[in-house]
């Protein structure tokens, strides 16, 4: 265990040797989780998590869940409105329901029964 001083804006310095062991270097993103005994766990952000993290930006709505292990999980809230017309090809589209209906029936006619 190491003791480090909390400085202005609640900043702390990770001891160099511990940072090397944890694979943390300058410029990396880290997660800070609140553990059950009120301690904080600092972890290097993995690539997949980083991708998810980057998706959240200012103005986004997020859900916050407190997990049993004391950590906090944030998830970007996707709004239904975001998907309205998301696949529109840029032209007027109609009769898709009828088309789909016909395709399902065509598949039926090809069945051996």
């Amino acid at each position: 265990m190491r003791v480090v001083k909390v400085t202005g804006k609640l900043q702390v310095t990770i001891p160099k040797d511990l940072a090397e062991i944890a694979g943390i270097s300058v410029g990396d993103l880290v997660t800070i989780e609140l553990a059950q005994n009120d301690s904080l766990i600092i972890r290097k952000l993995k690539d997949l998590e980083k991708a998810a993290e980057i998706e959240i930006s200012v103005g986004d709505s997020v859900t916050v869940k407190f997990r049993q292990d004391g950590s906090v999980m944030m998830k970007k809230l996707v709004l239904l409105e975001e998907l309205a017309g998301a696949l529109n090809p840029g032209r007027k589209v109609e009769h898709l329901a009828e088309e789909l209906d016909q395709e399902r029936k065509a598949a039926e006619r090809q069945s051996p029964l």
Binding site: V78, L80, E82, L83, A84, G85, A86, L87, N88, P89, K92, V93, E94, H95, L96, A97, L100, D101, R104, K105, A107, E108, S111
Partner: protein
């Protein structure tokens, strides 16, 4: 009768499963149907779709030249509308629907998914469901729009 409560703006409780044609109308902004799809999608917060819908939406996006966009929105779509898998129990329900009610194979698998997962409402634009409109299949109310 359906349209009055659809347009009432009141949220409905319970789980809803949406047929591919509802989702396609909304995602592709189909003329006349997109607004209806939007209203029924907004009616429920517990939204589901059959895994078959992923195939059908993906197929249409390829036909329309929006496949890349589909790949981009797929995670969001699955987050908003949970895809339900087809298992053996679903297949057993589908056999009954297909043989007793003369539903096409895909229709019967999607409706069977609603029954299998105890879905409260099943919404579709499909004409083959006109015979079931406002009727229950087990616990599932069929709503043909």
């Amino acid at each position: 009768m359906q349209k009055s409560w659809i347009r009432s703006g009141k949220p409905r409780k319970g789980k809803a499963l949406y047929d591919s044609n509802i989702l396609i109308a909304y995602l592709f902004r189909e003329e006349r149907r997109c607004d209806i799809a939007k209203e029924v999608l907004a009616k429920h917060s517990n939204r589901y779709m059959s895994i078959i819908s992923i195939h059908e939406i993906g197929y249409y996006s390829r036909k329309m030249g929006t496949e890349i966009k589909f790949m981009e929105i797929k995670p969001k779509l699955s987050q908003l509308i949970e895809p339900l898998q087809i298992d053996q129990e679903t297949c057993m329900h589908a056999i009954n629907l297909r043989s007793l009610n003369k539903l096409p194979e895909i229709d019967s698998l999607i409706a069977a998914t609603a029954i299998r997962y105890n879905i409260d409402y099943f919404y579709t634009f499909d004409q083959d469901f006109t015979q079931f409109n406002n009727r229950r299949l087990r616990n599932t109310m069929i709503i043909k729009l």
